[in-house]
């Protein structure tokens, strides 16, 4: 049976391993900072091809897919929709592209830009939302005096009194019940901001997975079952209030599919995405008068698809590059650290112990650590039977285990004998 003091020593070693695996790799990468590539992908209606803006700390590069580099002044006319204001200023905005007359107001209206980051999908905000008056007749949206929650019913809490507005709560709860809503809400998606041109309220997933559209029109509830299938398994929705009024929201599903919820009776249109993992990758959708460019940004690469306005694929591009693990520092880190524990990650807002394992190269340092540990125990005249458990910790945790071993230091249970 393991003596209690041996068990505590192992526990202490494991705590030291944890601390080392959090801070040592962190220090190591602070000293060997790897510069991330930043590439913005666009589709030029002039070249009918992808063009790129690549940036590093020194410079911004403008290039096309054939590898030709441009100056900024040469590049901007290739993206007349993105740069229409600058081109107007320079008198270079074309009157017609592909037979379509170019009107700045229309260009501006059709320019859209959406981004879905993994951290925002994982994030669960405070489940209190302002329900704006969608048809106030005022130019600007105004913040309501109350906030709603949807638990066993829809409740409005008036901020100034911090009390439930029973009348409004009953009114909206009844409207939801009438529409077949199952309480409580699983998720609520919307833009709780007055800085938008108009309000489309919220998309709410009920307890059975059905998606409801809720807003307030002239003080009355607007609650509608969208008919979006419950088995779609939506994990996130990005709602957007855009004057274009083409779609209400973008829905990301558990199967890494992406749909837009159109203004046409909430019908779903699937967006073509490739190699998308909502837990790890950022999804970017850029749209203009002619095209939609859908880009999946990965840690070491990207996949882009350009579609027409009906989301039919026109072309695709992509690139991958070696990440930090391929640099000299990365190779050293792989040999040195059998695993790394991060408490914060870019892909989630929450703190946890995120473990990332190295590959077989870590055995190199682990074996050296083990040899050192065995030599250490031999020198201390501690029998191998007694040291076996500690050696197991060292072989499994490599350099961290060795640090733990040297920190714990005293392993003889009965000093009278040594």
């Amino acid at each position: 049976m393991v003596r209690y003091i041996t068990a505590i020593r192992v526990l202490l070693m494991l705590i030291i391993v944890l601390v080392s695996s959090v801070y040592l790799p962190d220090f190591f990468w602070k000293a060997n900072k790897h510069e991330n590539k930043k590439i913005n992908v666009f589709y030029s209606p002039i070249l009918k091809d992808f063009v790129f803006i690549k940036a590093d700390v020194r410079q911004t590069y403008y290039a096309d897919s054939k590898g030709k580099y441009y100056t900024r002044d040469e590049f901007e006319p290739l993206l007349p929709f993105l740069n229409f204001r600058q081109l107007m200023l320079a008198g270079k905005l074309p009157d017609v592209i592909d037979g379509v007359p170019i009107r700045p107001k229309e260009v501006s209206l059709n320019n859209i830009n959406m981004r879905v980051q993994p951290a925002i999908i994982q994030y669960k905000p405070l489940q209190l939302f302002p329900l704006f008056e969608s048809a106030s007749g005022r130019l600007r949206l105004e913040l309501p005096p109350d906030f709603f929650r949807i638990r066993s019913r829809m409740e409005f809490i008036t901020s100034i009194t911090n009390e439930i507005n029973e009348e409004k709560s009953s009114l909206f709860t009844a409207a939801l019940v009438k529409e077949g809503f199952s309480f409580p809400a699983k998720a609520i998606y919307g833009n709780p901001s007055t800085k938008k041109p108009f309000d489309e309220g919220y998309f709410v997933i009920d307890d059975k997975g059905k998606v409801f559209h809720i807003k307030m029109v002239k003080g009355r509830p607007f609650c509608k079952d969208t008919g979006i299938p419950a088995d779609l398994d939506i994990v996130y929705m990005v709602t957007t209030e855009n004057e274009l009024r083409e779609f209400y929201a973008l829905a990301v599903t558990k199967k890494n599919e992406v749909f837009i919820v159109s203004y046409d009776k909430y019908s779903l249109i699937q967006i073509p995405v490739e190699e998308y993992d909502y837990k790890e990758n950022t999804l970017l959708i850029k749209g203009d008068l002619f095209y939609r460019v859908i880009t999946v940004n990965q840690e070491n690469g990207y996949h882009s698809i350009v579609t027409n306005r009906k989301y039919q694929i026109i072309s695709r591009t992509g690139e991958s590059w070696s990440g930090s693990e391929a640099t000299n520092a990365g190779i050293i880190a792989s040999c040195l650290f059998p695993f790394t524990v991060q408490i914060e990650k870019d892909t989630t807002p929450y703190i946890d112990f995120y473990v990332q394992y190295s590959d077989f190269r870590a055995l190199f340092a682990s074996n050296i650590a083990l040899l050192f540990a065995m030599y250490y125990f031999r020198k201390k005249r501690i029998p191998i039977r007694q040291a076996a458990l500690y050696c197991t910790v060292v072989i499994l945790t490599g350099v961290y285990g060795l640090i733990a071993l040297l920190t714990v230091k005293d392993f003889d249970d009965d000093p009278g004998k040594s």
């Binding site: 601390v19 906030f147 911090n162 408490i343 946890d352 230091k409 000093p415």
Partner: protein
């Protein structure tokens, strides 16, 4: 024997405990008046939307006071033990050393828990007085890691002070610093929502390490 031991520990820490209780009270009072004044100056709905959007931790003072509590009680409880070689005598009492160490640690831990419960109660009253229940839920999950961090810092102070070897003391201080830092990361609401179980385990594991320090201490004085 237990009562005598608890009384001995209480006598050592009573003044720092009272001082810390006053500090906690002051931090909570400042939190209350800050919130009260915010609601006096700005419209209530504007305050709420700002709090929701930016996850304003209006009780952040409790974070620092909690850390100070763990360190303070730990230092005041164990510095005299070491400085005046009292621990040497204590561990020679006709009682098992682990039981004595447990009683000493439990006394300090209970005092920290008392202050943490006090903070939670008062913060609950403040939060529910001004804000909806969601903020109360967020407050509980946001502050829990701080209280656990307070306990953990106490245990590591104890581990460091009881440890007889100076080199190991420095090493243990470094490990303790690393562990305790893990409880005070992040700035928004409920940042530890996914890792609550892990940090509870880390606190429990830290509390057990004290027995190794005691073992080393007793062995060192043989």
């Amino acid at each position: 024997m237990v009562t005598a031991m608890v009384m001995k520990e209480w006598l050592k820490v009573r003044w720092i405990f009272i001082g810390l209780a006053v500090l906690h009270g002051a931090a909570l009072l400042i939190t209350y008046y800050d919130l009260l004044n915010t609601f006096k100056i700005y419209k209530a709905n504007e305050v709420v939307i700002q709090f929701i959007t930016f996850e304003v931790v209006f009780y952040s003072k409790v974070k620092y006071v909690s850390l100070l509590t763990g360190l303070g009680i730990g230092i005041f409880q164990f510095f005299p033990e070491l400085n005046q070689s009292r621990l040497k005598l204590t561990l020679h009492l006709p009682v098992k050393e682990n039981r004595l160490i447990f009683q000493m640690a439990a006394t300090g831990a209970v005092l920290i828990i008392v202050l943490s419960v006090f903070d939670t109660l008062i913060l609950s009253l403040i939060t529910l007085r001004f804000l909806p229940r969601e903020f109360f839920d967020a407050m509980v999950t946001t502050t829990l890691p701080w209280y656990l961090g307070s306990l953990c810092s106490y245990f590591w102070v104890m581990i460091v002070f009881v440890e007889p070897n100076w080199v190991k003391r420095i090493l243990m201080s470094t490990v303790g610093l690393g562990i305790v830092s893990l409880f005070f990361e992040g700035g928004g609401y409920a940042m530890y929502a996914l890792s609550m179980g892990h940090i509870v385990l880390l606190t429990l594991f830290s509390s057990v390490i004290i027995f190794l320090s005691a073992f080393n201490f007793k062995r060192g004085i043989w």
